[in-house]
């Protein structure tokens, strides 16, 4: 139990510290460093406590349940391999933090750095300890994100931003691939549990999806571990502060890729495909990295490519996959972490003390900073694989693995040669580092006078170099048991006994080593001048700039191509959008209905059919006429549209829909009024639109005409198809039978509207209210077309009279007519429940009556006399409707339950009363308010835009 909790703490503590670190003041460097350092020490202590159990072969697991339903639980497990890796993370982490305390400038915001470093430590711990393969991906992606933040730490610098972005894109994409691979793995293995997956190796490699899984998996691993061809992000990540480079980009994070390669070897490895891909890529990377490293002038660039090369080495070992190779891989992970971290720190010290990392400028530093020089030289020796240093041992093992390895492929015979050549280059760049930086004449043009750094800054390097030496000289004593435990966890029980020795006698690896060293010296020393002063890399290598290629690819794939595709696949034009809609509807309907049996019987033609046909001859002519005139003769189109509407009304009358006829008529009038009100702000078109008769325009119209004809035909067919089938039993039948008895009205349509489906009406009036408000709001900020700002021409003509003279007789009549119109509205309202009419019709009627008064006079005149507060009416209407609906709650019925009864009134007798009528009154009030609001809001524009030279009359606000 304690161990499980400790395991959880191992992951959790860094995150908690990170949160804490983020809240500290910006300049609290010491506090930050203490916090972070303590956290690392806590981790180390925990690891120490766990050690006995781990060596005992115990598999400690701890679980925090999170999303169990998709198998996503925070399960942590620790074994020898992850333990060893954790020691690296925490140990090097501690040294890096110590180093960073002195490296970072007081101006750098400390909380961001330390909290990020701590968060990274947590994420990395999670990754290493995860016992759930999906959680592994989660932490994997977290390390990418934190890495992004750390690379971009100095975000004012372009290279930091670009490097951060590149590394995130590459590693996060790889992580996504890894996620899919893990999901598939989990599905094949039947569990996301790491142990279960590792145990299901045979099942996995035998699955049909194995190649897919493998490719996705290695994509993840290779991007993270900077393997060819994804290696380019790592050198660009060197824009990060050096402690970050030392920690993430050499010792720990980049090792995550090889970590999973080794970890999942039991599940995925051992196949030919695995060998080909992993070893092939590993060797390529090994060689490429080593070659390029030689030609870098930037210290960190050299180290970055060296890291790439060494990661390739480990990858190649993982691909070889023999127990011995795996042990070598684990060993080299540790060794590389130690010497590379120290080298980065040394490079950082040099940069810190001299102000530059350019090897062309640095020279003879051994004199100015002898201790640092000594440390760096030893570490470089380890990097080169010099005997008695740790790098030598694992490199030796690598040579042996390539030499011994034999599975009959072409890669197999090629591998030792690649290994030696790469080893030679490795020796060469190490030598170059030592020779150019520390020897030769003292540099003269350095930005700063170099001297030794503070002791505590040098300390981490010294510790790491000491480890290099210790491991190099007493490997079995220093690292033997740890490596044994770790390898056991990777290889499994059939791990052969091995013993780390410095001297194996003269054997093939030693010979290879010697060749490499010698060759390496020659490679550097012969063309030394060329290399030292030449450009960054050879011409070929510059051509093969993967980063540039990647950037070009990214530009193409994520900017240029999408922009092009967006232009092709999308449209900003309304016409095209509507055309797409129409065409899809057409195509969909055709696709569905083409199998329908179109067996239309000959219609019988009688007198009434003839009349009806004539009626629609008129209606159709109007419709087509409106369509034809709408472009140049808006007024004519409007009038023609009115004709089509009228014929529609007549159709409703003919086909037994008196309510529809009434409503349609009223709405027709209101719509015409609206459109004419609007037409005033649409300047007249008296010139042909340029290009309107061009071939393109004509063919465009012809195409649309075709579509329109097809749509018309389609709708005809569709309507006919329904009309020719006999109706089945429908809800409508029930309404007919029950409207009077249950709904208390004879006009079934009205009963439906105010009772059976009153909720629809409720919604409908809300629509009206909202649109009214929108229209009003929009017109408050209306800016007319410049051509229509002036008063219309008829009013400007000098010879024209004032409005009053024009309308003298009509306005008298229209004013008198207001009274009968009010009565008509009342009539329509009260008749609604039994005969055609209702609240809506009444509301529109009254609104039209009011509109007429505006027409008969002018806005000021009317508003000086009648005060309509349309918004209040709307509010009242909605509130009444809602209150009536809610009233039924009092009696325990659902919303909008209607209640009807006869009231006995003196003198008058029985009077029918229904709550539906009250509801209808709400409808009436709202409709009146909304329509008046819209009409008048438009009408008011004339006042706002062109103030008249009329005696001002008291004007009252209408809303």
């Amino acid at each position: 139990m304690v161990e499980q909790n400790l395991l959880l703490m191992l992951v959790l503590t860094p995150f908690v510290s990170a949160a804490l670190a983020a809240t500290l003041p910006i300049g609290a460097r010491n506090a930050e460093a203490w916090l972070a350092g303590l956290t690392m020490i806590v981790s180390l202590v925990i690891l120490g406590v766990l050690y006995p159990a781990v060596t005992g072969g115990e598999n400690i697991t701890g679980t925090v349940y999170w999303v169990s339903s998709i198998g996503l639980d925070l399960t942590f497990r620790i074994d020898g391999f992850s333990w060893l890796f954790m020691v690296l993370v925490a140990g090097i982490g501690f040294l890096v933090i110590l180093y960073a305390r002195y490296y970072m400038s007081p101006d750098d915001p400390a909380p961001r750095l330390y909290s990020s470093l701590l968060a990274f430590c947590g994420a990395m711990s999670g990754l290493l300890l995860s016992g759930n393969i999906i959680m592994l991906v989660v932490f994997w992606e977290l390390t990418s994100i934190v890495s992004f933040l750390l690379i971009g730490y100095w975000f004012q610098r372009q290279d930091a931003r670009d490097g951060a972005r590149m590394s995130l894109i590459v590693t996060a994409s790889g992580g996504l691939c890894l996620m899919v691979a893990m999901i598939l793995l989990g599905q094949i293995a039947g569990s996301y549990d790491l142990d279960a997956v590792l145990a299901a190796g045979a099942k996995i490699t035998g699955h049909r999806l194995y190649p897919v899984v493998l490719i996705l998996f290695v994509l993840g691993a290779f991007t993270k571990s900077a393997q060819f061809p994804f290696h380019f992000w790592l050198p660009n990540a060197m824009a990060a502060p050096t402690p970050v480079s030392a920690y993430l980009h050499s010792a720990t994070m980049v090792k995550a890729g090889v970590f999973v390669l080794l970890r999942f070897h039991p599940a995925l490895g051992g196949t030919d495909l695995w060998f080909q891909i992993v070893t092939g890529i590993g060797l390529t990377t090994l060689l490429l990295g080593a070659v390029v490293a030689l030609f870098r002038h930037d210290l960190k660039g050299l180290l970055a490519y060296s890291t790439i090369s060494h990661l390739g080495l480990i990858t190649a070992l993982a691909g070889i996959g023999t127990p011995f190779a795996l042990v070598a891989a684990v060993f080299h992970i540790v060794n590389h972490a130690v010497f590379k971290a120290s080298l980065f720190m040394a490079a950082g010290i040099i940069d810190h003390e001299t102000g530059t990392r350019d090897m062309r400028r640095l020279s003879g530093l051994a004199r100015a900073m002898p201790v640092t020089a000594a440390l760096a030289i030893i570490a470089s020796g380890a990097m080169a694989g010099v005997p008695l240093l740790n790098g030598f041992l694992s490199k030796e093992m690598f040579f042996e693995a390539t030499y011994v390895w034999n599975n009959g492929g072409s890669l197999d015979s090629f591998a030792p040669i690649v290994a030696v050549v790469a080893g030679a280059f490795s020796a060469a760049y190490s030598l170059r580092f030592i020779v150019t930086v520390f020897f030769g004449p003292p540099a003269t043009d350095l930005p700063q006078e170099p001297h030794e750094p503070p002791l505590l800054m040098r300390l981490p390097v010294a510790i790491l170099v000491a480890i290099c030496l210790a491991v190099g000289m007493f490997p079995q004593q220093v690292l033997g048991t740890w490596l044994q435990t770790a390898s056991l966890a990777v290889v499994g029980p059939d791990l052969p006994r091995f013993s780390l020795k410095i001297w194996h006698g003269i054997n093939a690896p030693l010979v290879m080593s010697m060749i490499a060293m010698g060759l390496g010296a020659l490679i550097y020393l012969l063309p030394r001048r060329l290399i030292d002063s030449g450009e960054d890399g050879t011409r070929l290598l510059r051509r093969l700039d993967f980063a540039r290629g990647f950037d070009w690819l990214l530009q193409s794939l994520t900017i240029r191509l999408p922009r092009l595709a967006l232009r092709v696949l999308s449209t900003a034009g309304l016409q095209a959008q509507l055309r797409v809609q129409v065409l899809l509807a057409l195509a969909g309907a055709w696709f569905v209905l083409r199998r329908l049996d179109w067996n239309v019987p000959m219609p019988q033609i009688g007198a009434s059919e003839l009349v009806f046909a004539l009626l629609w001859l008129v209606g159709g002519t109007c419709a087509v006429g409106a369509a034809w005139q709408a472009k140049y003769h808006r007024f004519a189109a409007l009038v023609l549209m009115g004709g089509a509407g009228l014929v529609t009304c007549a159709t409703f009358v003919w086909l037994s829909a008196p309510d529809l006829a009434v409503t349609q008529l009223l709405v027709e009038i209101a719509t015409t009024a609206l459109l004419l009100l609007g037409l005033r702000w649409l300047p007249k078109r008296d010139q042909e639109i340029p290009g309107d008769q061009s071939f393109v325009s004509r063919s465009r119209r012809a195409r649309d005409l075709l579509i329109a004809v097809a749509c018309g035909t389609g709708m005809t067919a569709l309507a006919l198809a329904v009309l020719l089938t006999a109706p089945g039993a429908s809800v409508g039948d029930w309404f007919l039978r029950n409207a009077y008895v249950e709904g208390g009205g004879t006009n079934v349509v009205n009963v439906i509207l105010v009772d059976f489906r009153a909720f629809d009406t409720f919604g409908e009036i809300t629509v009206l209210a909202t649109v009214g408000l929108t229209v009003y709001a929009l017109l408050r900020r209306f800016r007319p077309a410049p051509e229509s700002v002036e008063r219309p021409r008829p009013q400007l003509d000098a010879e024209e009279q004032a409005l009053e003279a024009y309308l003298f007789v009509p306005s008298v009549l229209m004013q008198w007519l207001f009274a009968p119109i009010i009565a008509l509205a009342a009539y329509l309202f009260f008749r609604g429940h039994d005969l055609p009419g209702g609240g809506f019709a009444a509301g529109v009627t009254l609104a039209i009556g009011l509109l007429l008064q505006y027409v008969a006079a002018n806005v000021r005149w009317v508003e000086a006399r009648i005060v309509v507060l349309p918004v209040r009416w709307m509010a009242a209407g909605l509130t009444i409707a809602a209150a009536v609906g809610a009233g039924s709650w009092i009696f325990g019925y659902p919303f909008l339950s209607a209640h009807a009864r006869y009231l006995d009134l003196p003198l008058i007798g029985q009077v029918p009363f229904s709550t539906a009528m009250l509801f209808d009154f709400g409808v009436f009030a709202l409709v009146l308010g909304a329509i008046v609001l819209m009409l008048i809001a438009i009408a008011h524009q004339s006042l706002r835009v062109a103030p008249r030279a009329r005696p001002a009359e008291p004007k009252e606000e209408t809303a």
Binding site: L142, W154, L566, L574, V722, L773, R781
Partner: protein, 581 residues
């Protein structure tokens, strides 16, 4: 739920509360914006409380093993005569999500947007009423009405503040939606013409008794309806209206409108599984392939848009399109028999992504203030430079020094916005541990789990979906990172002033997302159960049609001389309703 006893009036609360609040606000002059704001917040709070209670009802009903559906018969008319509200897991969830998005949007509006035009608060409440009505109604035509309420309010909110950009975008938005509404109407009419009913559950029932011709016509109706909803859901190639519209809208309006595409998705989800779901006989799975392919194409289009459009707010629109496509495709798979866990994951994803998109719109505007709006990585291109040569020489002389510039002075609100932007971007890109990641994982896992036979292959379309799921996230990541780096890292100088009232809602939404992350299991359990229930439409139908009225019923005095109806009653709809399951 509790038949016979007091009906559960709470079901109508999410519609009525905002509606009445919106109406009451109209009694006040629009100058009293603070009053209206408080009224609005109270209404949203009440709606939220109601939605909590409703969700508790739904959950307890499930736990008791009963039917998961609550019915509210408006006007006390039985199904299918009157309109009913239907509460199930899905609608309860959507209503709650709406309430959760409403509060931040409203607070954000108080930062100044409410005053840029007239009657913002009323229209906002009407929008909520429309959205909740769409989620709750069980009647197809009533759905149309509430769609219109929602759309009408959205026109108002979208145009709030006016100005040429909004007007231009608004004209398109309006025209496209009017055309879509007409399609909707044609579809509803055809449904009634063929089945004789408008109740969604009853339609599913009636579908069994259609003959061939009627069935084809019904499929035509489904096609029209589907198109209408796909337009609202902004599926490719029907969603070109969305990015300019949301881009032009005021941020709080765009934020609440983020739920609107989900209404389209919701209806497709509801209808395709209820009416054309796995148990729909000859019509089973109708349109599923369109949803699958369309969904994947939509995601692809959204990805292209996110990458290809320079303006941040428009990117938000494309992100909404990606989110829509993701869920649509999952619905298609579920409808085609792809299993429920994928759908459950998609629902989970929908919740998180909707909140994130809402947050995105709230962030996008303040963050883009005084932005040069140039997303191109090649600023020097115009001057004839090779943009790459300069960029990729970071290791050359003079740039290798670790010399640093002091961090520029940024305001706390700006910093918060930057962090929020990063979190929202991570969420939308599907990076762990955000709900976007968990949702996509759940979808992928469901896809693999339910569709990968041992040793077999996944269908190509599922591969495409999986690939799109990953790629769209990656596209979002790249696009948003590019913006974020440029805006928050690269640009020096004074940062725009951001009010606390603008930060708070964003933080609220992110808190929601954070809560979703922490309580993922509970939520995913809920959405999985929801998906399971959706794939068993029989339960829903039984619950809605339990006390269904026979449409041939007549009052006593009306019964006598109607022998025809008696004949038909023998094998009439009651038998049908029972046989339907």
């Amino acid at each position: 739920m509790n038949d016979g006893a007091m009906p559960d009036h709470l079901m109508i609360a999410p519609i009525l509360i905002p509606l009445v609040a919106g109406a009451l606000m109209l009694f006040y002059s629009d100058r009293n914006r603070q009053t209206k704001l408080i009224m609005g917040l109270v209404a949203v709070g009440l709606t939220f409380l109601a939605s909590i209670e409703l969700m508790a009802d739904v959950k307890s009903a499930t736990e008791q093993g009963g039917t998961v559906v609550g019915l509210y018969r408006l006007g006390d008319w039985p199904v299918p005569i009157g309109i009913v509200l239907v509460l199930d897991r899905l609608s309860a969830m959507m209503v709650m999500l709406t309430a959760l998005l409403a509060a931040p949007s409203l607070i954000y509006a108080a930062a100044g947007w409410q005053g840029k035009g007239q009657h913002y608060h009323s229209m906002f409440q009407f929008l909520l009423a429309g959205v909740n009505g769409s989620f709750l109604t069980g009647d197809l035509f009533n759905l149309f009405v509430f769609f219109e309420v929602m759309l009408a309010a959205s026109y108002g909110l979208m145009l709030h503040g006016s100005g040429p950009q909004r007007i231009k975008a608004g004209l398109h938005y309006l025209a496209v939606n009017l055309a879509a509404s007409l399609l909707f109407l044609i579809g509803v009419a055809l449904v009634y013409g063929t089945t004789g009913t408008l109740n969604m559950a009853d339609i599913g029932r009636a579908l069994y008794w259609l003959d061939d011709a009627e069935r084809l016509l019904f499929h035509a109706a489904a096609t029209f309806l589907g198109l209408a909803f796909l337009i609202k859901a902004a599926a490719w190639p029907l969603g070109f209206w969305l990015p300019p519209t949301y881009g032009a809208a005021a941020p709080p309006a765009a934020a609440i409108m983020a739920i609107m595409t989900k209404v389209g998705v919701y209806v497709i989800l509801r209808l395709s599984l209820l009416v054309l779901g796995p148990d729909a006989g000859l019509s089973a799975g109708f349109g599923a392939s369109v949803l699958m392919i369309g969904g994947v194409l939509t995601m692809g289009f959204g990805m292209i848009g996110v990458l290809g459009t320079p303006e941040l707010v428009r990117k938000g629109g494309y992100l909404a399109i990606i989110s829509s496509g993701t869920v649509l495709a999952a619905v298609g798979f579920a409808q085609a028999g792809g299993g429920s866990s994928m759908l459950g994951g998609a629902l989970y994803y929908m919740i998180g992504s909707t909140a994130a998109i809402a947050a995105f719109f709230l962030i996008a505007e303040p963050v883009s203030r005084d932005d040069r709006g140039d997303d191109d990585d090649t600023p020097a291109e115009a001057d004839g430079f090779d943009p790459l040569s300069e960029r990729w020489a970071p290791m050359g002389l003079g740039t290798v020094e670790d010399t640093t510039a002091p961090a520029s002075q940024r305001t706390v609100s700006w910093l918060t916005m930057a962090i929020c932007f990063g979190l929202v971007a991570a969420m939308l890109a599907g990076l762990p541990p955000m709900p976007g990641f968990i949702g996509k994982l759940a979808i992928l896992r469901g896809a693999v789990q339910d569709n990968l036979p041992a040793g077999g292959h996944l269908p190509v379309i599922l591969w495409a979906y999986a690939a799109m799921l990953i790629l769209s996230g990656l596209g979002a990541l790249i696009a948003l990172m590019r913006f974020g780096i440029r805006r928050f890292w690269a640009e020096e100088g004074p940062t725009p002033r951001i009010l606390a009232l603008e930060v708070v809602p964003v933080v609220m939404l992110l808190g929601m997302i954070g809560l979703q992350t922490l309580r993922s299991d509970a939520l995913l359990g809920y959405t999985n159960a929801t998906a399971g229930a959706l794939l068993e439409p029989g339960v829903y139908r039984n619950a809605v049609l339990a006390d269904a009225q026979d449409v041939r019923a007549a009052p006593v005095q009306n019964l006598a001389p109607d022998p025809v109806a008696d004949d038909q009653n023998a094998n009439g709809p009651n038998a049908a309703a029972e046989g339907a399951q």
